[in-house]
């Protein structure tokens, strides 16, 4: 880092000083453009070389100076552009803000509040990984583009910056005497890891595999009936696309590890490009656990979350990966993750409630289901569609075949609506929709009894109000983080968490204690 001054002094690194990203970053980002230029001008010569002709033969000899000159000019312009873009990209981390200035002709200044940080990602594309660089993405609550993208920093600097931002965002006061000191990286403890074999198995048994098998069978039958072999040709692009989709899922879910630190949940994954996401405590707006029918054989589940700033998931897009909390996991993993996301489940028997939510039927675990009179509307699902409210979260389950459990913490409820169509009115039913930030999870209590739905509507409004009053600060160390004993399988997690919190917490949790005794 040349222009930013020496970075070796950790003490006064990120305070108020304007820094630049790594000088190699435009080349890492723009290598495709450079490669294209090289290819464009080098192709001809290369082809001649392959054909055994002299490189400067025939008519090309006369044009060679022009071609070379042109190529050099384009190259110089590109490199100049890279250097300018690097020179004019600067960032600064101050007490409450991150600021990034970019642009040379059209300048852009961006400022993001640190206490509004929703998530921080460190992304390493393959090339950046080779050079030991990383991109830092900083999300605030805006379902659009990332608030701040710093590409690229040296990986150590990126980690250091992430620690600093998270420390500032958590409200941890700097050490007395050395207010400028960079925050130490929060210690973390690995919670679970997805083995590659399970990932492959989950892909083979995923929903799309079912459709592929069905489609393959249909085309074999069709070709046998019509005795037409030609249309197999049309299946080739489809097969390529499917292969790409599988590869994507595999490559993104590879080596998926979850770790817990006082700064929040860390997710790491990726085969060639690696990504490390940090979700600070309490930033998860809604969560869902799904189980496609075939996954039931091995008892696997997938978890997805809504985080403000991550936005809606496209099919295979970036957001689709970032909103995945667990690509595939067993029941124990799911319960572990639930305990991390919801440290205080707000019920005396969280294990039973969550298990009933995952695969239970009827009123086990305190769930209220669709009344029996409506079984015509949901012949399969009426015994499963239901909701249960704990002191801290609302659980909504649905689906007999595609099992789903949605969890929304009370203090994350934005607004709510009761819906009732003509058919539902005939059966005295109503739906309750909870509104949350954009993401893959859409919480909805379906086909509840009108009386129950109304009671839930009122109770939920009251609970959300009470939960909001408790949550007074965006700084997660400043508010009481109720850390009660979690569900039995996660005891090893808590042992790792407690010393970390002591280490970082400058003031102990004051307000109210755990909900249950």
């Amino acid at each position: 880092m040349t222009a930013g001054g020496p970075l070796a002094v950790p003490g006064e690194k990120y305070d108020g000083e304007w820094l630049r990203v790594h000088p190699a970053s435009p080349f890492v980002r723009g290598w495709v453009a450079l490669a294209a230029i090289g290819y464009f001008f080098g192709r001809d010569a290369f082809e001649r070389m392959l054909q055994g002709e002299p490189i400067m033969g025939g008519q090309i000899a006369g044009r060679a100076p022009w071609l070379l000159g042109g190529g050099a000019l384009v190259l110089v312009l590109a490199v100049l552009g890279f250097i300018l873009s690097w020179y004019f990209t600067r960032y600064q981390v101050t007490e409450g803000y991150v600021r990034v200035n970019t642009g040379f002709l059209f300048k852009q200044q961006r400022q993001a509040r640190l206490d509004r940080v929703q998530a921080i990602d460190i992304v390493q594309p393959l090339l950046a990984r080779i050079f030991g660089l990383a991109e830092l993405k900083f999300e605030v609550a805006d379902a659009g583009e990332s608030a701040v993208r710093l590409a690229y920093l040296r990986i150590d600097d990126a980690r250091q910056l992430r620690a600093t931002i998270l420390a500032r965002a958590s409200g941890a006061e700097p050490e007395p005497g050395r207010p400028e000191a960079a925050a130490p990286e929060a210690p973390e403890q690995q919670v679970l890891q997805v083995p590659p074999s399970r990932l492959i198995g989950s892909l083979l048994l995923s929903e799309q595999s079912v459709f592929i098998v069905l489609g393959g069978a249909a085309s074999v039958v069709l070709s046998a009936v019509t005795e037409n072999r030609a249309f197999f040709l049309y299946l080739i692009p489809a097969a390529l696309g499917l292969f790409a989709a599988y590869w994507n899922s595999f490559h993104r879910g590879y080596n998926f590890t979850v770790a817990i630190s006082p700064d929040g949940i860390r997710l790491r994954y990726g085969l060639l490009d690696t990504q490390a996401q940090t979700l600070p405590p309490g930033r998860i707006q809604a969560l869902r656990v799904v189980q496609p029918p075939l996954w039931r054989i091995f008892g696997w589940y997938r978890m997805q979350v809504n985080v403000a700033g991550y936005g809606t998931a496209g099919n295979n897009g970036e957001a689709g990966t970032r909103t995945t909390l667990l690509p595939v996991g067993e029941l124990e993993d799911v319960l572990n993750m639930l305990a991390l996301v919801l440290p205080d489940p707000g019920t005396d028997d969280p294990l039973r409630v969550f298990q009933c939510g995952l695969y239970g039927l009827d009123s086990d675990g305190g769930f209220v289901t669709t009344p029996r009179r409506a079984r015509l509307l949901a012949p399969l699902g009426w015994r499963r569609n239901g909701f249960a409210a704990t002191d801290t979260a609302l659980l909504m389950r649905s689906g007999r075949w595609w099992r789903q459990l949605v969890v929304v913490p009370h203090q994350r409820t934005q607004s709510m609506a009761l819906h009732q169509g003509p058919l539902a009115r005939r059966f005295k039913l109503a739906d309750l929709v909870l509104h949350t930030t954009a993401g893959p999870v859409t919480p909805r209590v379906i086909q509840a009894d009108v009386g129950e739905a109304l009671a839930l509507f009122d109770a939920q409004a009251a609970r959300a109000r009470a939960a909001r009053k408790r949550q007074t600060s965006e700084h997660w160390l400043a508010q009481a983080a109720p850390l009660v004993e979690p569900a039995p399988p996660v005891e090893h997690v808590e042992t790792g968490l407690a010393p970390g919190l002591d280490h970082r917490a400058s003031h102990p949790p004051q307000q109210e204690g755990p909900q249950r005794g």
Binding site: Q414, S415, K428, A430, V433, V450, F457, R468, E474
Partner: protein, 170 residues
């Protein structure tokens, strides 16, 4: 005043201005009459004998169907407008709407990010406005149309003040 099954009990709904029917009528006319008119063109052409390939019954049925649909929508408008209601509670705002597909929404004041007031040309002529609440969730589609202008301004100030007092983060 009509209250439906999914309304929370004991709420005194404030209704929007009856003049809002006019706004909806204009919207209806712009939307439906143009569609019906365009779909009637084939009928006109067949009657004039320009188009002979089109069966007469089809040329009549399509615009007639659209006309019936449009009239049905027209008949519903006054009831739909009467069904819109809102109520300010201590900590949240309730909004209801719909006849067949009813909806009751609750928006906590502390969750409001900002409040919009918009006025279209017809609304301006009638002295009405539309108030829209935004939370961090895009699916919060909380809109109160057809408010008298001064009521809209009062509500906006009221909501902003209450939102500030109860402001919560995400």
């Amino acid at each position: 005043m009509h209250t439906a099954a999914i309304d929370p009990p004991g709420i005194a709904w404030l209704r929007v201005s009856p003049k809002y029917v006019t706004v909806r009528l204009v919207e209806w006319a712009v939307g439906n009459l143009i569609v019906v008119a365009v779909l009637s063109l084939p009928l006109l052409f067949t009657l004039l004998g320009w188009w002979s390939w089109l069966p007469r019954w089809l040329a009549v049925a399509v615009p007639a169907f659209m006309l019936v649909l449009a009239v049905w929508r027209l008949v519903l408008i006054p009831r739909q407008v009467r069904a819109i209601g809102y109520a300010e509670r201590d900590d949240d705002l309730l909004i209801r709407g719909g006849i067949f597909f009813q909806r009751v929404m609750v928006v906590p004041y502390g969750r409001m990010q900002y409040v919009d007031i918009s006025v279209g040309p017809v609304e301006r002529w009638l002295g009405l406005c539309t108030l829209k609440l935004h939370t961090a969730s895009a699916s919060t589609n909380a809109m109160i149309p057809g408010l008298p202008a001064e009521e809209g301004a009062r509500l906006r100030e009221q909501l902003s003040a209450r939102g500030e007092a109860r402001l919560a983060g995400l």
